[in-house]
Symmetry: C2
Subunit: 329 residues, 2 copies
């Protein structure tokens, strides 16, 4: 049942000493490299819905999500292990499409599948463990932000959440389209891009003082970064790169009172990077890969308050309102 | 939701550079060590039953099962990552007991929790990724068995399967007893011992030519070892260390026509070791830790047939009849 390592291509940086097929995988020691490990669950009915999310998106996104945690530390992804539980009814066509999406993500991210476990369950359950590498001492923690640092985000926030709303209100949108002509918010939701090159550059060059990926929504993740760094923050609504609500959007979706800022703050699943940069390092940012996608949204402050300054200039406390698996939906 | 690393004690061999609380865990490079990685799923309704398996057994066994794959290669367990999905109703007392069992296993196995992901699901789903270490080149694969090698197993086979039957027929047995006075087959089923010291000794001293853990039943796992090694095997029924059916067993369980040999061959979940030893290495086995638990059950042969010689002296082909998650129960 476990897919063969061959179908997932070869890693640019060589193969593990032993991949799938034995009790466990072996990774040979490498001089001057730290390993970075993370795991991530992707569960039917919680993180994705059988009638809305194409199987290849489930495969693609399960790996992208997990790798985003590596990018958030500045590591370069290398290997992964797949735990997959699924009903017997999904072991045919659905599984093939899932594996196609997973293999595409692995190819784009240059990762190699080195182990896994497959079993039965009522609903699809995916857990991925990803292994990355980084030069010793270069990993960027959440805890290094200092008052006076500028706060940056990459990309556009809220797009994935908008994509989910769009596809929920018009499931046909996703079924009719193929991957290349999906509306961009839906593409962001189904096949998120992970900021591996940016994260790695920020870490290798010691430009970011603190960093993490934005997976649960800016409001929740900024609050975590500040808590880990024992600092507060002040961000500005008119600087946040919010998703634009397309004019062509169906009246049904528009009627839900969509708001780009709200989606950007609390939407989640953007897998962009949030990082802090000290004033003396800011000039270096000009050389960052994808600099045009970087936006300063505010600054780190003393104290523990997280403040959102609205377009009206009024400062208000920003509560964490992002994704919480045990919260109310 | 993710338990703190502190509650799981400290590893004898030091701490990782960064444990739980950031995007990912960091493992510092170590000279002359290969890493061994494996993952294992443990799913409610498939691998355990909510009304039969105490939560602390679910926690204990989920780690022991995963570590058994490391033992099967001869690696020494070090770190683990926990993916846990569970219903909100299980986040209180059940979760505490689960974590208690997991922490006990981690303590006994001297392992440190370095990362995890917790989320919601309708049923409990556990996936563990375990990381072990071994001297480069010493890991024992499944593929090294050669005709003429003797086949050994550790411990008693079939005990865990008998324990499951006992506890299914009399759930009160488990609820009334505490851990120390559980009947031994039930203890073997709830809290399996993993042969870490034996596996490591066989690997370090290059005594075993091929090895794996017996998790799905001897008949299935022997067939895998032989397939990986391109060999056959002949084993002898009267040498297999079968579980004894207790005389005190309830008539209800006895009435199912229990047979020690059948349980030993096809029962599964024993987490004992199956390994091959070349004639020139056999004398070394006398120095193995737990030598009194080692039994030669047969030999590796040319060809691809797996033969069971019965107590009557008759040779019959042995079909893989162990656990298959998508098979009939």
């Amino acid at each position: 049942m476990v897919p063969s390592a061959r179908s997932f291509g070869r890693n640019r940086a060589g193969s593990p000493r032993l991949g799938i097929g034995d009790d466990a995988a072996l990774l040979a020691p490498t001089v001057n490299v730290e390993l970075v490990l993370s795991c991530d669950a992707f569960v039917e009915g919680v993180h994705f819905l059988a009638d809305i999310h194409p199987a290849d998106s489930v495969g693609y996104k399960s790996l992208a999500r997990a790798v985003s945690d590596l990018a958030g530390m500045g590591a370069t992804p290398r290997h992964f292990l797949l735990t997959l539980a699924l009903p017997a009814s999904r072991t045919g066509k659905w599984l093939n499409a899932f594996l196609r999406g997973l293999a595409r993500a692995a190819g784009e991210l240059r990762m190699l599948l080195i182990g896994g476990d497959t079993t039965r369950s009522d609903k699809v359950f995916v857990s991925l463990t990803v292994v990355g590498k980084i030069r010793p001492g270069r990993a960027v923690r959440r805890s290094g932000a200092r008052p006076g640092d500028q706060l940056y985000v990459s990309g556009t926030l809220g797009a994935a959440a908008l994509g989910l709303l769009m596809v929920k209100s018009q499931p046909g949108l996703a079924r009719r389209a193929n991957r290349s002509n999906l509306p961009s918010p839906i593409r962001a939701h189904f096949y998120p891009r992970v900021r591996v090159a940016l994260g790695s550059w920020l870490a290798q060059n010691r430009v970011a003082s603190a960093m993490m990926d934005i997976s649960d929504g800016l409001s929740s993740d900024l609050s975590r970064l500040c808590a880990a760094s024992h600092v507060g923050a002040r961000i500005f609504a008119d600087r946040i790169p919010c998703v634009e609500i397309p004019a062509s959007l169906s009246p049904k979706v528009r009627a839900t009172g969509l708001d780009g800022l709200r989606l950007a703050l609390h939407g989640g699943e953007d897998y962009e990077l949030l990082f802090a940069v000290s004033p003396e390092n800011e000039a270096m940012l000009r050389r960052a890969p994808g600099i045009k996608h970087l936006v300063p949204i505010g600054r780190i402050e003393r104290g523990r308050k997280i403040i959102l300054v609205g377009a009206d200039g009024k400062a208000r406390p920003l509560a964490a309102g992002g994704w919480d698996p045990f919260g109310n939906e």
